[in-house]
């Protein structure tokens, strides 16, 4: 490794790191990728078609595997062994999902691949709240097109021309999988309420795609995909990048510092090998941070020097600020009308086949909250899990044939409605270095501060109201206790695993950490190419935008490299 001369070191291998590596390596740059987790190969490690009976505890989530035994996440979850984080006293709860594996969170993500819309890039211009991005939708749109064509996204439909819900140009998306029974069912109610229902954009190869396998319409995407039919960095971006011969990957390399020379340029990074505990420094002409918004901020804050005593690029105290997550909550209902339907294979393509984009852009004032949410809806006759008894009424006590008949009748008759909404950045949500706590290797850890605003809690209350109205319209009953107070019903900070911000892009070094290409204002050969650069947190899940932004930024880096500007 030391004998090689690298054009770029990329820290992280998820959506941002994977895409950066793909484009830089394809463009002929010599790249060293450092990943904190272990090597991971979905082709041989994915439990395709395994059933819950074959897993310990029938596959239920445990502290070792919080999203269930078969979830792709390796060595992580809400806690990572030896790598703590803290939440400040007086803060609202914050929780941080991290894996330690090649490909990061792209291995288990929900594959929901929605574009941000034109309004999402200029929220302050729209209603005076939050901040505008230094770019417009139109500037990012070509990169969305390229990204969709590269990673494989399903959900093509005739143009809907819905406000702030971009249609992809022809040729970008594959056909949408047909709505399943429960999707036809809820769709009718939303339409009756004047709310549009459209195909989901899912990062799943639902049709024929050159060089890719088509989805098997079975076995959950959250386990990963052994045949690479959905988007994972490890199946779609890293193999072609490796095939160029320009990419070297080192795993178990936990980067904690960007190294600078006397002139203030980045010379490389320092990392600790998680297995041996040895510290190493590597050099390159440029450094790309794509470790995830939290870890990227941590690396910058831990990179202290006489020029940057409060952390690299932090002269104006912007690093770690404007931390955002999605607003989230869910309500489930049980529907007599879905009882007793003939057995149908509802496994589908992994993501939802349809969804509800935000419909209230022009009614925000009367609604009492400034930003919207979309609805992700799950249901159908999914592979049975330990929660099967949840189909039955709480006071129900049947046994034998009576019990069998009841379960058979109710199987597939529940639907879960989940809202994912926009959060407006606020001064109470940020991360910084904990003054005392360090990880196993003595590196200071992050301390999070969190407080939802009324914009978010009012939005959460509206989600619950909407879900209860739809459940009622469909003749169903909500399952379990439903909290209608938005302050109590709203998710914890970080819980939607959409934490972004912390090194946002902007117009100059006083309002931001990086420019519109992720290039840091303070160190010209240091770049950020993950969700940390995001300025607002639209309701649309961030992964597709992280990919498109990373590609655009990596392309700019290539230009700079060719100009000899690094």
């Amino acid at each position: 490794m030391a004998s090689q001369s690298y054009d770029a070191i990329i820290v992280g291998s998820g959506a941002g790191g994977g895409m950066s590596a793909y484009h830089l390596a394809k463009s002929g740059l010599k790249v060293l990728m450092l990943e904190a987790g272990r090597n991971y190969d979905p082709r041989v490690e994915t439990p395709m078609f395994n059933i819950n009976a074959d897993a310990p505890l029938r596959g239920v989530g445990t502290p070792d595997k919080p999203f269930g035994f078969y979830d792709a996440t390796v060595d992580g979850g809400w806690q990572v062994p030896n790598e703590p984080y803290t939440v400040a006293e007086g803060s609202e709860p914050f929780t941080w999902w991290r894996p330690r594996m090649l490909g990061g969170r792209t291995n288990h993500w929900g594959r929901i691949a929605l574009r941000f819309g034109p309004l999402d890039f200029k929220p302050r211009s729209r209603d005076g709240l939050g901040y505008d991005w230094p770019i417009t939708y139109d500037e990012l749109a070509p990169w969305y097109d390229r990204t969709e064509k590269l990673i494989g996204v399903s959900g093509a439909y005739p143009p809907q021309n819905l406000l702030n819900t971009p249609d992809s140009p022809p040729g970008c998306l594959m056909e949408a999988a047909p709505p399943r029974a429960f999707e036809i069912f809820y769709g009718r109610a939303f339409k009756a309420m004047g709310i549009p229902v459209i195909p989901m954009h899912g990062a799943v190869v639902s049709g024929k795609m050159e060089g890719r396998n088509t989805c098997l319409f079975a076995t959950p995407c959250g386990r990963g995909c052994a045949i690479g039919a959905n988007f994972q960095s490890t199946t779609v971006l890293l193999p072609p990048a490796m095939a160029t011969g320009n990419l070297t990957i080192r795993t178990n390399a936990l980067v904690y510092q960007v190294d600078l020379d006397k002139a203030g340029k980045a010379t490389g990074v320092s990392f600790v090998d998680r297995k041996t505990g040895e510290h190493h420094s590597v050099t390159a002409k440029s450094v790309v941070l794509a470790a995830g918004s939290g870890e990227t901020a941590r690396i910058l804050l831990n990179s202290k020097s006489s020029k940057f005593p409060d952390g690299l690029c932090n002269t104006h105290g912007m690093v770690g600020r404007y931390l955002m997550d999605s607003v989230g909550l869910g309500v489930s209902g049980q529907f007599p009308a879905l009882e007793g339907l003939p057995p149908t294979n509802d496994d589908g393509q992994g993501t939802q086949h349809t969804y509800i984009p935000w419909w209230g852009y022009e009614k925000q004032k009367e609604l009492g909250f400034p930003r919207g949410y979309h609805i992700e809806i799950g249901g159908g006759r999914h592979m049975p899990s330990m929660g099967m008894a949840g189909l039955l009424r709480d006071d129900e006590a049947s046994v034998g044939d009576d019990l069998r008949a009841k379960l058979r009748n109710k199987f597939g008759s529940t639907i879960g409605f989940d809202g994912r909404g926009e959060m407006i950045p606020n001064d109470d949500c940020y991360c910084e270095l904990d003054p005392k706590v360090k990880d196993k290797w003595g590196i200071p850890v992050l301390r999070f501060h969190w407080k939802w605003g009324e914009s978010e809690t009012n939005q959460a209350a509206h989600m619950v109201k909407t879900f209860l109205a739809v459940i009622d319209r469909l003749g169903g009953k909500p399952l379990g206790h439903v909290e209608t107070d938005g302050k109590k019903a709203i998710s914890k900070g970080g819980e939607m695993i959409h934490e972004i911000g912390t090194a946002r892009m902007g117009h100059n070094d006083t309002d931001s950490v990086v420019n519109q290409f992720g290039q840091s204002w303070a160190v010209p050969n240091l770049f950020v190419m993950d969700g940390a650069v995001m300025v607002s947190s639209p309701d649309k899940n961030p992964t597709l935008s992280i990919l498109a932004l990373a590609w655009r930024s990596a392309d700019n880096l290539v230009t700079l490299a060719r100009q000899g500007a690094l």
């Binding site: 992580g76 029974a181 009756a192 003939p342 049975p384 330990m386 099967m388 379960l407």
Partner: protein, 222 residues
């Protein structure tokens, strides 16, 4: 073929349940011997969940990076003693006895699963452990080595039990039994889950399903 009977069996209203044969490996069986030994040492009726004699009980979980494609057996030692396991088998089969081509809960190893669950070192399962074990202990005297009618009465009385502990036990045990049963291939067949098979396309719901939905929409005024 048939063996001559030494004595005529007494007439019984229902047959005695067959002893549950655990679907376990030898290591677990040896652990049981240890635990029963300890229990005997402190006296009848006292159940000891401590380390088995002559060996150390494994109490760790499967860790944050278990093998997923061919999962290994959960590493923690099983703590249920034979009386609890036999009681669990009787209760699981009361909830889901064999019916037609559907097998009984015990034949699918549900009692072993209950043992795996209550023996697990994770918070949710540790919370369930006393609920299940105390419930089984309370029930065992009423269903093991008793007349069939007495056993049937004890089982039938469970759902309507007056005390909160018994009700909590019934609810949790039934929940676990249903979950354990329907997560198996036999359970899939019984409930009508026909997925988890590779397909070349997703054709969507059948005309029959769509017609049923339209009928439902009519009733709902949609």
């Amino acid at each position: 073929m048939s063996q001559p009977l030494k004595t005529q069996p007494p007439p019984a209203p229902e047959p005695e349940p067959e002893a549950y044969v655990a679907k376990i490996d030898r290591r677990t069986a040896l652990a049981w011997v240890g635990v029963v030994g300890a229990a005997t040492a402190v006296g009848a009726g006292v159940v000891v969940y401590g380390p088995k004699m002559g060996g150390q009980r494994v109490t760790h979980g499967y860790g944050t990076d278990p093998k997923l494609t061919k999962p290994e057996k959960a590493p923690w030692s099983r703590i249920m003693i034979p009386a609890q396991l036999q009681t669990a088998a009787i209760l699981a089969d009361f909830i889901l006895p064999a019916s037609g081509s559907a097998p009984s809960a015990s034949s699918l190893g549900v009692p072993d699963f209950i043992d795996e669950w209550v023996s697990a070192p994770y918070p949710d399962q540790l919370k369930d452990r006393p609920v299940i074990l105390n419930g089984l202990n309370a029930l065992s005297g009423k269903v093991l080595k008793v007349a069939a009618a007495e056993r049937a009465a004890a089982l039938t009385a469970l759902p309507a039990a007056a005390d909160a502990a018994t009700r909590a036990f019934w609810k949790k045990f039934r929940h676990l039994t249903i979950g354990a049963y329907y997560t198996t291939e036999a359970g899939f067949k019984d409930i009508g889950y026909i997925g988890n098979v590779p397909r070349t396309s997703d054709p969507g719901p059948s005309a029959e399903v769509k017609a049923a939905l339209e009928a439902a929409f009519k009733k709902l005024g949609l």
